[in-house]
Symmetry: none
Subunit: 213 residues, 2 copies
């Protein structure tokens, strides 16, 4: 696919700016003056190219009927996720309740793009306390996005409660004949083997977010 011309890139950027500043799309003549183009037909010409290449969509005969594609196609939005507690060694992770699901009832929330939650609704977040998860490449202060399930597919990362050790750990879970292999995210480290009835799956790890600054 051919690259966009300088003018076409300028038009897209202008539409974007105009849209977020004013809240409605620009008319062709807005684009004309805003990008210093000599004729409306030139704008029309380049808009058609942009439409054919999938950058915008236009509604014929509709004034300001331009929309930017590929960018927030409405399906993309912010999903509020409740931060319901801590994840730390020595204590099982908090179990989400109908109450803590409620974004309004929880003191702390974060917003994540729906890209990440992908429509899954039963998602909550935990703040990591301490360095006990470094073998999972998770640092003190990181936020772990969890989904409340009590079984996971082989190879998925889960919050695992080890009954005997009284520890919660984040590992990839593989069920093998009569034991469970817990594989650290850091593939250079050795796996851990646990008895079937020594492990409780407490949730599935969806994502890890570390805000540095």
């Amino acid at each position: 696919m051919k690259k966009l011309s300088d003018k076409q890139r300028r038009i897209i950027r202008f539409i974007d700016r105009f849209l977020s500043e004013k809240g409605y799309p620009p008319s062709i003549r807005d684009i004309q003056t805003g990008c210093g183009i000599s004729s409306t037909s030139v704008v029309d010409y380049n808009l058609n190219i942009l439409e054919n290449r999938g950058y915008i969509s236009r509604r014929a005969e509709v004034s300001r009927g331009i929309r930017l594609l590929n960018r927030t196609p409405t399906s993309e939005s912010l999903v509020p996720v409740p931060i319901i507690g801590l994840i730390a060694a020595g204590a099982p992770i908090p179990v989400p309740t109908p109450d803590t699901w409620d974004v309004a009832a929880v003191s702390e929330t974060m917003s994540v793009p729906s890209e990440i939650t992908r429509g899954r609704e039963d998602i909550y977040a935990l703040r990591v306390k301490g360095m006990s998860m470094v073998d999972a490449l998770i640092n003190d202060g990181d936020i772990v996005l969890m989904q409340h399930v009590n079984a996971v597919e082989n190879g998925e990362m889960a919050a695992v409660w080890l009954r005997a050790e009284k520890e919660v750990t984040l590992k990839k879970v593989y069920v093998e004949s009569n034991r469970i292999r817990l594989q650290p995210a850091n593939s250079q480290m050795q796996p851990l083997y646990a008895d079937l009835d020594n492990v409780d799956i407490q949730g599935r790890v969806i994502a890890v977010v570390r805000q540095v600054v």
Copy 2:
């Protein structure tokens, strides 16, 4: 403040639906037929009321110049970030250019909450290739959000290019008298010391995102 009439609430809901479905605001006549209203002047009349009460804002004489207020107070929104390349051992990270800043010109983008970018504009993303960053608690496939700067404050995490070793590494940077201390994110690991003119600051790390499933 008086309550909105049934018709006015219907109008607002219609504008909202129309906007998210089509990507551009409705015309007065769109609202008229969409809400089953008998005259454009009635729509105009009610829109003026809605504007006076702060529900919408209108641009006089501008077709479809309606915007919904009070919704997404601009404080929280999704910011598109271009993913401009890879970060891997043995090669410096790609330098963002005016071209790669342009979200429209880049093949891959991700959306992050403005919570994370906090208004900073010159932010880009890199995908981590390989396991060379495990000492920074960063895994193969993670995405690193960067800000293009060539100097950082003491203690900030930066992408550091080591000239002699021909390696890029992510470390907390501390300038000490005549050398630079590079502290791994994993505080259980030992710091590295480097000569002042052996290091290039290539960018500041804003956040790390690891999507597991």
